[in-house]
Amino acid sequence: MDNLKIFIVEDDEWYGEILEYHLSLNPDYEVYKYTNGKALVENLYRNPSVVTLDYSLPDMQCEAVMKRIKKFNPEIPIIIISGQENVSTAVNLLKEGAYDYITKDDDTKDRVWNTIKNIQENLKLKTELSNLREEISNKYEFSNSIKGNSKAIQRVFNLMEKAAKTNITVSITGETGTGKELVAKAIHYNSKLQAKPLVTVNVAAIPNELIESELFGHEKGAFTGANTRRIGKFEEANKGTIFLDEIGEMDISMQAKLLRVLQEKEVTRIGGNNTVKLDVRVIVATHRNLSEEVQKGNFREDLYYRLLGLPIELPPLRERGNDMLHLAKYFSDEFCKENGMPKMPLSATGQEKLMKYAWPGNVRELKAVVELAAVMANGDHIEADDIRFNSSRGMSDLLLEETTLKDYTDKIIYHFLDKYDNNVLLVARKLDIGKSTIYRMLKRA
């Protein structure tokens, strides 16, 4: 952090000198002294970090000087130093935006010192916060958060850009692991609400009986166990974005309450009487097909239309062509970097194995598989053997391999031989085939 630039405005030379000397003892402070309001105003362009202002200046009213400073930069903290202990003056100045009001006495210089120290801490935190914010929005830059060149994903980028430009409600659909939450975050951090809160609620993760108070908050004593007032997620997200993940899992009675809040743009905490005005951008996501759910009667039609807004459908990984290899390389590189390992490229057979697989768990699964493969690999490449799929949908994946019936038969026989300790007779009996079929196969291999 740069030095703190302190401007002292003090017409009493003696006092100004003491203050300047005292503050200059801190090597982090750069202290400048002015004896009247006009001199300060003329030097504001030098961008002070803090101004200490004597209340009774010879040429200008203190309030007027304050106004000029605030007009130049409302963020500059102003410490008023006054010879008189007049409470109402002090209160008024603090209301006008003075950071502190300190009366002139023996301790003044120490109090100014402490106040400036606090300001310095505050500034540090502010800088840190804005750096972090910037880091986050860089992280969620569209091209940084979601990788891919396929047509399918380019279409998604296009929609995301449109979504970020306005405050329209966005509904994101896509299979599990396709990156719905990532898209929601990227939209928020690229929109003009980026400095405002993004509050994420996973509807599926909250029990039905708690979700209302989670979303809308409750007053103290609203129900048994409500020991304190609680601010709901909607209020927390006010002026920013609320992201309702797995909206398709919401209970039908809760759907009615949500619809009301969205329509009225206001929320009442459970057990409360006051309504809170809401100005919240809504993004929802689900892995379900909501229009089907509407037809089945599981999702309210009115809520469906209210939430549809700009629909973004995320393509499953198997429809993203070469993106899969780009992503696999990206995940492997990232993983190796994080773990201080040399880069581990995919061999040709490894790539082939990945391309053949159906990826029911999509990008999330790809990441897990690639990271495991990078760990398992013995050489400097990821080979086909290093890649293991742990999919829970074995059979359908087997069919997706689209190989010959003979290959399938072999696979099945090998599986059972493995299972029954190569007991050919037992396997033949289990599969109801002759033992010679098995021997023939083994011979071929």
Binding site: D12, E13, W14, Y15, E17, I18, Y21, H22, L25, S56, G83, K104, D106, K109
Partner: protein, 118 residues
């Protein structure tokens, strides 16, 4: 070392010295400033009092307070505050003249002593 015996000294620079640490130049600068400003302020008070301009008397005495405190001039600490308060009230009982006389005498004496010190 001071050239004036402690018992006769009307000021006490220990507070200023404490603040300055080892920086004697700062103490000297402040003493010089006091020597420059004080006679000027005293003359202004005198002038304004004679002209009946008590508001100015109040302002100037108010400004003298910090220097009197920092230079450790104990015999004027209360007096300067009384002068400020009386001037603010318009001096209804005509109590200012003797106080101003005292201020003048002691402050000038301090100046003389400080000059020796330098």
């Amino acid at each position: 070392m001071s050239k004036i015996p402690q018992s006769e000294r009307l000021y006490d620079l220990s507070k200023l010295r404490h603040m300055a640490g080892d920086d004697n130049a700062f103490v000297v600068r402040m003493v010089k400033m006091f020597l420059e400003q004080t006679p000027e302020s005293l003359a202004q008070i005198d002038q304004n009092f004679k002209a009946g301009n008590l508001a100015q008397v109040r302002t100037i005495s108010h400004k003298m307070k910090p220097s009197i405190d920092f230079m450790g001039i104990e015999s004027l600490k209360n007096e300067i505050r009384q002068i400020e308060a009386l001037a603010d009230e318009g001096d209804p009982n005509n109590a200012l003249p003797p106080l101003l006389k005292q201020l003048n005498a002691i402050a000038l004496q301090v100046c003389e002593q400080l000059k020796l010190e330098l």
